[in-house]
């Protein structure tokens, strides 16, 4: 349905999409709990933990890396997940619940444009969040330039696509804002566990690390870590991310309801 609509020449001016994007930015600024949490908290964690000298020392348990070095991919995953799981589905579920999508579907603008505007806004917020986070880590906490910059960027982009696809799926199945919020929270916690938010994966039993590899954020942090420390990430990690993106994206398109 989304694909069909985008193939037809729209009856609405293209400028309407720009306007939708701008207004979504305005609304995000006026609704601070919408994903902006995802920007502040990781930065705060980086600054607080990075200021503890012991956490910047190399650890044999972490394969000779410091805790902060291991933690940076986790925090990048945090930024993406907060915008993708909360920033993206919450407004969409709210718009559906309040009849804003319904109202929109009586105009010449395809409702998919609002979805697109939400994606643009939240991707932009995630990109800014990651740029600031990496910038501060490099400037103040001794993060080295990634071994493979291309792999680093590619891994981050793939993570975004996979996580945002899951976020859209949450928006598709949640029949209200509160459901979307709970669902986002419920999925957030275990996924962030496998990204090593609470405990670095390296110190956990091998069985848990094996499971982690198959989770989207586990694969993401490994891929980002590899790009930072050794070189271009393995195809396996990137394929896992791509698979999540395709499956969740297809399900989201299948189940998305405008009202």
């Amino acid at each position: 349905m989304i694909a069909l609509q985008s193939l037809l020449p729209p009856q609405a001016p293209r400028a309407a999409f720009r306007k939708l994007v701008l207004d979504e930015f305005v609304l995000t600024r006026r609704t601070p709990n919408r994903g902006l949490l995802g920007l502040g908290l990781p930065l705060l964690l980086l600054i607080v933990l990075g200021s503890i000298p012991k956490l910047s020392q190399p650890e044999t348990a972490l394969g000779g890396l410091s805790f902060i070095e291991v933690y940076i991919p986790t925090l990048i995953g945090f930024v993406i997940t907060a915008t993708g799981f909360l920033g993206l589905p919450l407004p969409l579920a709210t718009y559906r619940e309040q009849g804003i999508l319904r109202r929109l579907s009586t105009t010449p603008v395809p409702p998919a444009w609002l979805l697109g505007a939400q994606l643009v806004v939240n991707l932009a917020i995630a990109v800014v969040g990651i740029v600031v986070l990496v910038g501060v880590a490099m400037a103040a906490f001794g993060m080295a330039v990634p071994k493979s910059s291309l792999g680093f960027i590619l891994a981050i982009l793939l993570t975004m696509v996979a996580i945002f696809a899951i976020g859209l799926l949450i928006a598709a199945v949640a029949n209200g804002a509160s459901v979307a919020q709970s669902l986002g929270g419920i999925v957030f916690a275990p996924l962030m566990f496998f990204a090593g938010l609470w405990v670095p994966m390296a110190v956990l039993p091998v069985q848990i690390r094996d499971i982690s590899t198959w989770t989207p954020l586990g694969a993401a942090t490994e891929a980002i870590q590899d790009a930072m420390q050794t070189g271009f990430p393995s195809a396996g990690q990137l394929l896992i991310l791509a698979a999540y993106a395709i499956v969740a994206g297809a399900l989201a398109v299948r189940f998305f309801r405008w009202e």
Partner: protein
Amino acid sequence: MKQELAPTAVARSSEVGSAKPSDVIDVSHLRKTYGRTVAVDDVSFSVREDEIFGILGPNGAGKTTAVECIIGLRRPDAGTIRVLGLNPESDRDREELHTLVGAQLQVSALPAKLTVRENLELYRSFYYHPADVGELVTTLGLGDKLGSYYKDLSGGQKQRLAVAVALIGQPKIAVLDEMTTGLDPQARRDTWDLIEGIRARGVTILLVTHYMDEAQRLCDRVALFDQGRIVALGTPSELAAEAGGGKHVTFVPSRTFDDRLLTDLPNVTSVEHHGPRVTVVGKGELVNAVIQTLATNGVNAEDVTSGSATLEDAFLKLTGRHIHEPEEVNA
């Protein structure tokens, strides 16, 4: 003659039913079910250009469902709909339809933290030939609310903004669904004036309401819905007449008078006294007849109110029920 012979023309005319060139909406044998519930059953009607057409009926009568099919939000199970010659069931037609029809829906809202101006500017950007925001807010009395968030508006202001948004694309048809529900009496009357003003601008109006007085006051023609079907269709006075109802006039006489002065008039059926007030029921040119007769006999009628026998009577007669009896909604 030529048209009747051409097979395509015959096929077309059977397809659009009784549509005349001046019909902007034509609904023919519309049916829509939700599971086992029949929401709309074999409904046919046409809306003429520049009229205010009312869809009137109790909650759950299928009014909203019919309107949602007309604007392409729902797909009918059977029947055909043409709006300005477009088929709301076709994806391509529907987008064009949405440039020509503005809708104020019963269950819909605007983003809470956008201001009145931002909401209007946003919806304005959706159309190639939009109306002027300034003029529209002046007409709708929202001029001093431009900087207020949607969530901070009163119920009446939200309704008026919904109407403004429905009109911002300069539509040929405006669909207004239960637009005065929840408004105080003054706001309702203001909204009625507004609707008449919109029609004066050349916009055809499809008005959905469960208020008899609203339909009676505003509509040129009314389709009376009950349990998914149209039970009567015509002008409000035609429907009232069909129900056998007449007119009534109530006044306070300047002095006492003999009732026979009035009961002797051919179009008066009864005279009742309620304290100082007198109510006369009859038909035809009742008000003039009553006041003139009294004046000739030196009685002044003060504080005069009058009205026609109502659509309410018509609904009662046609369905055996009062329109405001609570019914389960499936709209």
